[in-house]
Structure formats: C-alpha cells, structure tokens
C-alpha cells in the first residue's frame, strides 16, 4: 500500500532533521522524505497538519503480564495509544521466558495483534532462579535481544560473573537492575522523607554497591551490560566514569524518576510506591542532566500495570509499579522543554538512542527504514484519567495531572495501528 503523509513536521533525531516535509511510504517502508517523486500515487493520504511526524517510539521497558486476562491485548493497545512501535519486555512473564518455545509463542501472539514490534528479553537464569544459566543462543535465535533477571536476585557474584562471561561469548547484552539484594528491602528512598513518614529506607548504597560490583565484573568478563532504572546522582557518576573508561555499558531511567521525588509520596500515596524508589531533588536533577548529555542512553516507561486492589493497601504493602506506556511521550516532551532541549534531541532517548542501546533497526525516519511512525500534536493538552488510559493498569502517580502532547496516529510498517 502506498501512503502519503502530508504537511507534517518531520523530526528525526538520528539525522538531526527537523523541518516541514512530506513522507512517502510503500510496502511498509519509507521511500522518500521531503522530495517525493512526482509519480508517486498514493492509495491513502494522511493529513499531518499541526503534527510532528517522529519515528515510532522505542520503549525499553514495559511489562505485559498483569493484571488481568487479556493483558497482552490491552497493554499492546496501550503501547499503540502511546505512540510506541518497538517495545522491549522483561522476561518475568508467567512462566518466565527461559525457553525458546515461550518466546516464539509470545512473538507469535504479538504479531497477530499487530500493534507494535515486540523485542523480548530472555531470562538470564532458568526460572529466573538466579542459579543455572539459560540457553542464550537458542533464546536469541527465537528473538530475544538481551538477557535479564527482571527483579530477581542472582544467587551470588560467582554465578553472576559466570552468566556474564557466557553471555559475552556471543556479545549478548545482560540487563541488570542495580540493587543490592540485602540493602533493597525498604519501601522508600532513605532520607528525610522516609524518616519522617516512618517508612523503611533503601539507601543509595544499594544502587552504588550494585553498580560497582557489576562494573568490576564487566572489566573482568568484557560482557555488555545495560543498567535498568538508575535512580541516584551517585549512580549517574559511576556510570559516567565507566563510560569514559570505554566500558560497554548503557543505562536507562524511568519517566517516574525523571519527574518525581520522595516528597511526592505526600500522605502515603500508594501510586508512589515504586522500584527503584523516588529519591531526592538533587538525584532527579542529576538524572535529568544525564539524560540530556547521553550518560543515560534511554528514557523508558517502566510500564507496570497493577490491579487496583494491590494498591489500595498501606504504603509498605502496596505492589510497586506504575502504568506508563501512554505517558512516555508527554513526559519526554515535558523534560525536553524544562531542560531547554530541542525537540530532535529530546526525542532521541525514546527513539534512536534507545534503539542503539539494544542494537535494533528502529527509531529513525530514513529512506529504506521501516515505516514505524508516531504522529503527535506536541501542544495538545489532556488529563490523565482512568477513562483516558487504554492500559488495564490505572495506577499512575500522574493521575489527575494535565499532560501536554498527545499521539494522533501510530503507524507500524505502514499500517495505522492507532488513531486518536
């Protein structure tokens, strides 16, 4: 099918392009931008007047497993509503993705739903038990783009170093949450707020000790590591130094840590119960600057839908997590405006840089590239209400907030998978 997108403002971080241009698509790929051949006769024309035409968003962290039946359908629909065309999900499905057959099945189901491209992470260890490593080669052939323990700890550093060693044989990336198993039992970030509220704290040392440990193992094994969800200024410094040393590490930060602090817990709002916990203002500021200067490669939604019942309990008992696929775009835009970052640069952490971190072909608008696009109105206001969210999870810290920036249309391989 030949499609013509007219009068949009094309913004492509990979090439630095930001200009009014038309886009021509054929057979699911981009054929031309700007100078469209006169003999191109489209079967469909899409008016993009007032819209930004950006690469489809690449979200490196979205859970698809909960809360209810039909979760895959609803959460991929939420991805499409959020302008996400490439999505990485962690392996902690039920059962965990530790066998190629399970990965095949998941990819098959996702393909049938035709909402976005799914790039699963395989389990690093069998059953995510932290002990025996999985058949990483077979899992990669089935479509896994990396290996992760999700939230589960490794049995010990010896096992971790062996798992990293094995993964590095073929250059697979190991995705790890930087949290020390024994120090991360608290429910809020250690600090004045946790002390005042009487909540058990997670010290920054939980993150820094884990980062130091893993980086030592990277030096030793040469494994590629992606750090999931940095939360502290000290953590940012450690990653910055590792990168300057030339170590093969990348990192991401969640939309929640980018905008919120521990003060936002307020009167024990369970929507603020998150992992990693929300830290102090200076940590948030360091994370925002690190995303701008590239120390942190990607911004992720960390989408974790949680059933209402699991949140309406005392803070420490609440299940951690926040829904976020549909907030990735407006919260990225908000960060960009507040940091005075040009739109082409603000989009990078959710498009080209995110794709580069996992080594997939996505997140750019170029002739020959897949026609995965996110058309959005950057100035359109909307209020975050449960009725406005396609996800089954209505648990977001931003409930009731007004967002600016709304997806108008999401295109995957030339097909419109979402229209507002």
């Amino acid at each position: 099918m030949k499609i013509f997108i007219r009068n949009g403002r094309v913004v492509d971080p990979a090439s630095g392009r930001d200009e009014a241009a038309d886009v021509a698509i054929a057979a699911g790929r981009i054929v031309a931008i700007g100078h469209v051949p006169v003999d191109f006769t489209p079967e469909r024309t899409i008016e993009a007047d007032g819209c930004v035409v950006a690469p489809g968003l690449v979200d490196l962290a979205a859970r698809l497993k909960e809360p209810g039946p039909g979760a895959l359908e609803s959460e991929l629909a939420a991805a499409a509503a959020g302008g996400v065309t490439s999505l990485v999900c962690p392996p902690d499905m039920d059962p965990p993705l530790d066998e190629p057959g399970l990965v095949d099945m998941l990819k098959f189901r996702a393909r049938k739903l035709s909402r976005c491209r799914l790039f699963p992470l395989g389990a690093l260890t069998q059953g995510l038990g932290g002990a025996e490593i999985t058949e990483m080669i077979d899992l990669t052939e089935a479509g896994c783009v990396g290996f992760s323990q999700a939230e589960a700890p490794m049995r010990d550093n010896l096992t971790l170093s062996r798992a990293m060693q094995y993964a590095s044989t073929r250059g697979y990336t190991v995705w790890l949450r930087p949290q020390d198993a024994s120090l991360s039992g608290g429910v809020a970030a250690s600090g004045a707020v946790a002390t005042r509220l009487g909540l058990s704290g997670v010290p920054v040392a939980s993150e820094t000790i884990a980062l130091h440990t893993v980086i030592e193992l990277v030096r030793q094994t040469g494994a590629r590591v992606h750090f999931c969800r940095l939360s502290s200024a000290a953590g940012v410094d450690i990653v910055r130094r590792a990168k300057s040393e030339g170590l093969p590490v990348t990192a991401d930060v969640s939309i929640n840590s980018l905008h919120l602090t521990d003060v936002d817990i307020g009167y024990f709002n369970p929507a603020m119960r998150l992992v990693p916990p929300l830290r102090q203002a200076r940590d948030r500021d360091a994370l925002r600057a690190a995303l701008a200067d590239g120390t942190i490669d990607a911004l992720v939604s960390d989408h974790t839908p949680v059933d209402e019942d699991a949140k309406q309990v005392p803070f420490a008992e609440a299940e951690p997590g926040a829904t976020g696929l549909e907030l990735l775009l407006p919260l990225m835009l908000k960060w960009g405006i507040e940091m005075h970052v040009a739109l082409a640069d603000a989009l990078a952490p959710v498009t080209s840089r995110a794709a580069a971190a996992i080594g997939i072909e996505a997140g750019r608008i170029a002739p020959g590239a897949a026609a995965d696009l996110c058309l959005f109105d950057p100035g359109k206001p909307w209020v975050v209400l449960p009725s406005a969210l396609a996800s089954q999870g209505k648990n977001t810290p931003f409930l009731g907030f007004e967002m600016t920036g709304r997806v108008a249309r999401t295109v995957v391989g030339g097909r419109s998978v979402y229209i507002d």
């Binding site: 250690s190 600090g191 004045a192 909540l199 936002d264 803070f315």
Partner: protein
C-alpha cells in the same frame, strides 16, 4: 507537585481526623490540650460520665495488639457515653485474607461513627480516612513507625502541667527513635509548640543523622544529651533491635543510654521524666528513676484518658 489539603482538616480548618500531629496548626494542639483540662475534672466527679458521645459508636480497630492503649481509648469513649466495640482484627478477618478496605466497608455498614485504629504499617489510617464514609472520624492509635498522636498530645499535656511554658524548655528524647512513632509525634508537637531545644539521644543505629531534618539536635552521648534538660522522654527498647544487628545487647545499651540517678543528676534539679510505657526496668531506665520523684509516668496515664476524651469530643463535634 499538587498541593493537597491536610486530610485531617475540613474546609474550615477544623479537625475531622487525628492521624498525625505533623501539619496541625498550633491552635488546634492548644485547643486539644485546653479541652483535656476540662475532662480531667470529670474524672474527679462522682459521675465520671458526660453525654457528649451518647448514641455514637466507637470501633476500636486494633490490627496490632495493645491491650493498654485499647483500654485507655475504651475508658475515654465510655466516659463520653459512647458505645464501644472492640475488634482485634489480628485474630479475625484480616488473617483470613479480607482486605483492609473491605473490613472498613463492612464496619461502616454497621453505622460506625468513629474508628480508633492501630496498625503495624505506617500510613494505614490515611488509607482508612480516604475511604470511610464522610461523617466517620478516624483516630490514629499508632501506625507503624509513623505517628502516635494521642501519645504525643498527652506527653505535651504532661509537660505543660509541670512546666507551664514550652518556649523555654530543653527536652531530651532518648532511645530507639528511628523505630518510634511516639518519638515522631513528640518531636512534631514540641516543634509546633515552640520548644527551642529538642535533643534526640541514642546510638547511631537508633538515632540516624536524618533526624536533624525534623528539627532536633542529634546526640550520641547520654551525658551530653541529658545535661540541663527540663524534660527527659525515655523510649522503650524492643527486643527486635538486638536480633537485627542494631545493638549487641540490652546490657550494653543500659550502660551507655539507660537513665540512672547519676545521669538524671546532670539534668535540671526539677527535671521530669516521661515514658510512654510499658517500661523495661534495667534496660532503658533504672527502677529507682522510674519510681522516683522526677518520674511522671503514672500521671501520664491519667492525662492520657483526658486527652483522648478531648480528641474524641472535638472530632465528634466537627463535620467533614
């Protein structure tokens, strides 16, 4: 981000729930203390009952056991002529898996007017206050480590009774402050009432530097902590602290932080000693001090009933 009204106050700034002392204006604390004075006299009459809460149902919801606190609330409610229903939830439906909110909904259907709640998790009373019917008042009888506002208020009443003016006092709080809801409520009350010097005294594992942000001076030396103090509030040391690698033994704790007569002599000659109870003799406090002339531990209990009567009657008189 969003400014939120203190859930304890209605639109007119009147108290409709007592969840924490933090965030309450000084005028409300003073109102409670003044009202408590009135109720103290009720305890001396032949008829120790007034009809203010007659026909009202007060439900004691104790998710964490405490016979003493529950009993004082029960006495206070009965002296106000309320009907009191005691629910030891720890033994009943919650252990069968009923959620907290379902329990509250069921009780509200039984026309409760007031919930007195004790829970092991910080913040639980806020959840209840958010979800109970508008006319129902919630009194926090202790939530996790966060707050025990009626204890804080009765401690303030005790201090006011013996010392009169708050703005010239030096108050030392000694013990396991990081795990203590009583300490937090005391600190908020003391700062709101204008006490200029508040000291948090104890070993680093129990008195972390973070506490400074609450407006206290952190002391890890008992002699420094009690020197020239007008008021010493001793906290109970719980056994779990020894098993959690926070303290080696009760014996070593007593040697460095137990209140002995010798240490008490460093405080002001007319210093008073408070303790929320129950006391661990020989662990945080020497028997001779607990039973001595500076101790006001027993009057605290009497004041506690009057303070709780004051809280309940003020709440019952305010609309949501």
């Amino acid at each position: 981000m969003l400014a939120r009204r203190n859930p304890q106050l209605n639109a007119h700034g009147e108290l409709i729930h007592l969840l924490s002392i933090e965030g309450l204006p000084r005028a409300i604390l003073t109102q409670i203390l003044d009202t408590a004075g009135t109720f103290l006299s009720v305890n001396d009459r032949d008829v120790k009952k007034v009809p203010l809460l007659r026909g009202k149902s007060v439900f004691n919801l104790f998710f964490e056991n405490s016979t003493r606190t529950r009993t004082t609330f029960e006495i206070a409610a009965k002296r106000l002529s309320a009907d009191v229903i005691n629910l030891d939830i720890a033994k009943s439906s919650a252990s069968k898996g009923e959620s907290l909110l379902d329990t509250i909904a069921n009780l509200s259907a039984m026309h409760a007017d007031m919930f007195v709640v004790r829970h092991s998790e910080s913040g639980a009373p806020y959840l209840i206050a958010r979800h109970c019917a508008p006319h129902v008042h919630v009194v926090n009888a202790g939530d996790g480590r966060h707050a025990h506002p009626t204890q804080g208020l009765l401690d303030m009443y005790t201090i006011r009774h013996y010392k009169k003016a708050f703005n010239e006092l030096t108050v030392a709080i000694v013990g396991d402050i990081v795990h203590s809801r009583v300490a937090r409520s005391d600190i908020h009350a003391l700062t709101t009432l204008g006490v200029p010097e508040i000291r948090a005294v104890g070993p680093k594992t129990l008195v972390p530097g973070d506490l400074r942000e609450m407006g206290v001076r952190v002391c890890h030396d008992m002699r420094e902590g009690v020197k020239d103090a007008d008021v010493i509030i001793m906290l109970r040391l719980q056994n779990e602290r020894m098993s959690g690698a926070m303290l080696p033994s009760a014996g070593e704790y007593f040697k460095s932080f137990g209140l002995t007569e010798e240490l008490l002599a460093l405080a002001r000659p007319d210093a008073i000693v408070l303790h929320p109870g129950p006391i661990n003799r020989g662990v945080e406090i020497d028997s001779r001090v607990a039973d001595g002339s500076h101790s006001v531990i027993l009057p605290q209990v009497t004041f506690g009933i009057a303070v709780r009567m004051a809280v309940m009657s003020i709440l019952a008189g305010n609309d949501a």
